[in-house]
């Protein structure tokens, strides 16, 4: 099989992994390549997703038969495998032309988890040692692989990840009979331990080797199993706090395989995925907890309004907020104000007392924020600020044809655009 065909098969098999970040590492030194702390996107495919890494599987052969996965054993599509030399060579040729920031290497499981990890490590070492490559490497850790192999992955890669894919044990049993929560969480917590130990060590000894300096991430598939948004956000929250994950990715389920255990979706639940990313952003950058956004009685994210607006409408007693006095944390909770505009407000109010007209110039989306703020005592919202009245006003600003303008409708998205759509941060 020629290289072109292999690349096609192995890129096709890898593309459902949502992670594409190339951020979080500032690797450099002698040789070729360097990592950029903030990450760099190099292109965007026709689905609007960013390419920053050569995202491929080493092989799409697999001993497992997970129902949702395109690489399941019982899928008798063409199989291919790339040698370590081919992977390293291809990455290097792409990198020096500035097509990519580096390599994202995942794999189906060939022979055994250990054997698979060993081959993957050979490819990455080849790149690091023979090609003296200092660009970004994201390596998947294969559940079930020996601890020593997992430790090596962290030494050669910038970011490591183990995909949870299905949010509960029950769903795993149903769709991924070869895996359990245990097999996924064990390598994850090992990585978490090593990452934090290496960070501590490097604080006192600068020359100590970095272990996965860009941290670890994971992915959850959305819509293949019946978990609620609340269950998903609670899981993410725990992963951020307990496992110190850098990112949790949400991947709207695309039914690539037919299987009686899978739901028949007409299209991937993209809007739901989008809302989960917004809620995720609220957890990581806006100081919200999962419980504030969703509770037992309301376990589902609203599809009409973004989660921050929903929270604000449910907490009207906390508004309107005087932007000249409120704290950063409070200002962050105003719909229409993102991290950048909140910081600008704090800075600009040192120069003079802000008026409503000033807020727009600071980048605040006034058509939403207007119901929730005062500026120097001025209020520009509607007199009777009931939840329903505000909702109606907010809806008037949505597209007139009634269609949600995914990816351009909210400030949160604008600011999180890189993240939601491209996975950076």
């Amino acid at each position: 099989m020629d290289l072109d065909k292999k690349l096609e098969i192995l890129a096709e098999s890898a593309k459902y992994d949502a992670s594409c970040a190339s951020s979080g590492s500032d690797r450099g030194g002698k040789g070729t390549g360097a990592a950029h702390l903030g990450g760099v996107c190099h292109s965007w495919t026709s689905d609007g997703r960013c390419i920053s890494l050569l995202k491929i599987l080493m092989t799409n052969e697999c001993v497992y038969d997970c129902a949702y996965c395109i690489n399941r054993r019982s899928n008798d599509s063409a199989k291919a495998i790339l040698t370590p030399d081919e992977i390293a060579g291809l990455t290097f040729e792409f990198y020096k032309r500035n097509y990519i920031e580096g390599l994202f290497l995942s794999s189906g499981i060939i022979v055994s988890p250990d054997h698979t990890m060993e081959l993957m490590l050979q490819a990455v070492r080849k790149l690091r040692e023979t090609f003296r490559f200092n660009g970004y490497v994201h390596m998947k850790v294969i559940p079930g692989a020996d601890q020593s192999l997992i430790d090596q992955a962290g030494l050669w890669a910038d970011r490591v990840s183990v995909n949870i894919e299905l949010p509960t044990d029950k769903s795993l049993q149903l769709l991924a009979p070869g895996k359990t929560k245990e097999t996924v969480l064990r390598p994850m917590s090992r990585l978490a331990q090593r990452i934090s130990a290496s960070k501590d060590e490097r604080r006192s000894i600068k020359s100590a080797p970095a272990f996965a300096p860009a941290g670890q991430s994971t992915q959850l598939i959305i819509g293949a199993t019946p978990e609620t948004d609340r269950e998903i956000m609670k899981l993410s929250e725990a992963l951020y706090h307990k496992m110190r994950l850098k990112r949790v990715y949400y991947s709207a389920f695309v039914p690539v395989m037919k299987d009686s255990r899978l739901p028949a979706l007409r299209e991937p639940p993209l809007l739901r995925e989008h809302r989960l990313y917004q809620a995720d952003w609220l957890l990581r950058f806006y100081g919200f907890t999962a419980d504030e956004l969703l509770d037992e009685a309301h376990p589902t994210l609203d599809l009409t309004f973004d989660p921050k607006t929903v929270w604000a409408l449910n907490n009207l007693d906390k508004f309107p907020l005087e932007v000249n006095k409120a704290s950063y944390e409070e200002i962050l909770r105003v719909p229409g104000i993102g991290v950048t505009s909140a910081k600008r407000i704090l800075r600009a109010r040192r120069a003079w007392q802000l008026k409503l007209d000033d807020l727009k110039k600071l980048g605040v989306v006034m058509k939403r924020a207007v119901y929730f703020v005062t500026a120097g005592g001025q209020y520009g919202g509607i007199k009777k600020e009931t939840e329903e009245a505000i909702k109606i006003k907010l809806l008037e600003h949505k597209n007139t044809n009634g269609q949600l303008d995914l990816f351009s409708e909210s400030e949160l998205v604008k600011e999180g655009l890189t993240g939601t759509v491209t996975g950076q941060l």
Partner: protein, 244 residues
């Protein structure tokens, strides 16, 4: 009104800026070839005077905040119509108010220069991703770009740090300038038309692999050309291998 003309260089601009600040009367700054004669305008050639340029920089650093100098530098690289006058107004405000001026984010003079600088910084970042090198027969890596702003001096150091072991050229086709990196030395020089480029024997094959990868990586159930256009504006696509 007195209009100080400068030669297009940053030093020339700073010289003009210095003269304008000294003047204390109504004046403006314009590039030589862009100046429009008004009925009452008086043109003065600013020339380039290193001492005057240094004085302008000194004023900005002394009176401004830690970021003012970068705002001026980046805004100048925008080459946007009216950028010179906007910077002039901004520097006058710095001189008057001191470091707090950079916190006056809702002031139009500050907003304008900060905005220009952000737009330049943003485009420079985008081109860290959008530069596409082709390998030539002599192993030099060649890239053509056509950015809106003069971002070459912001982008070239990025590539020196990562492609230091190669020889390369980044050619701004719009401005007829290039960053040339040969034998570990980076220089900037005028470059109008590159000769017909002789590609390395392997180049076509690698390009084909990349294009194929690019096509394959899209998920057809998620097709969203609007989002793609938002991220890769059409104006940049003609120099991107995968869109050729």
């Amino acid at each position: 009104m007195r209009i100080f003309l400068y030669d297009g260089s940053f030093e020339g601009f700073l010289t003009a800026l210095s003269l304008g600040l000294e003047g204390g009367y109504a004046c403006a700054i314009s590039k030589e070839d862009k100046a429009e004669a008004g009925l009452f305008s008086e043109f003065v050639n600013a020339g380039t005077d290193p001492e005057k340029a240094a004085a302008a920089r000194d004023l900005i650093e002394r009176r401004g905040s830690a970021e003012s100098w970068q705002h001026v530098r980046f805004a100048f690289l925008s080459e946007a119509p009216g950028a010179e006058t906007a910077i002039f107004e901004y520097v006058k405000l710095l001189a008057e108010k001191g470091p707090i001026a950079d916190s006056m984010l809702a002031d139009d003079r500050v907003k304008k220069v900060h905005g220009l600088a952000a737009s330049v910084g943003g485009e420079a970042h985008m081109f860290k991703g959008f530069v596409r090198f082709k390998e030539l027969a002599d192993k030099t890596l060649y890239s053509k770009i056509e950015p809106d702003h003069n971002i070459l001096p912001l982008v070239a150091p990025h590539f020196r740090a990562r492609l230091g072991e190669f020889n390369w050229v980044i050619h701004d086709g719009r401005r007829g300038k290039a960053a040339l990196y040969f034998n570990r030395r980076l220089i900037y020089a005028p470059l109008t038309a590159a000769r017909a480029l002789e590609l390395d024997g392997k180049e076509d094959e690698v390009q084909a692999l990349w294009k194929h990868f690019f096509k394959t990586a899209a998920i057809k159930e998620r097709t969203n050309p609007k989002l793609q256009r938002q991220n890769v504006p059409l104006k940049y696509r003609k120099n991107l291998t995968e869109f050729e």
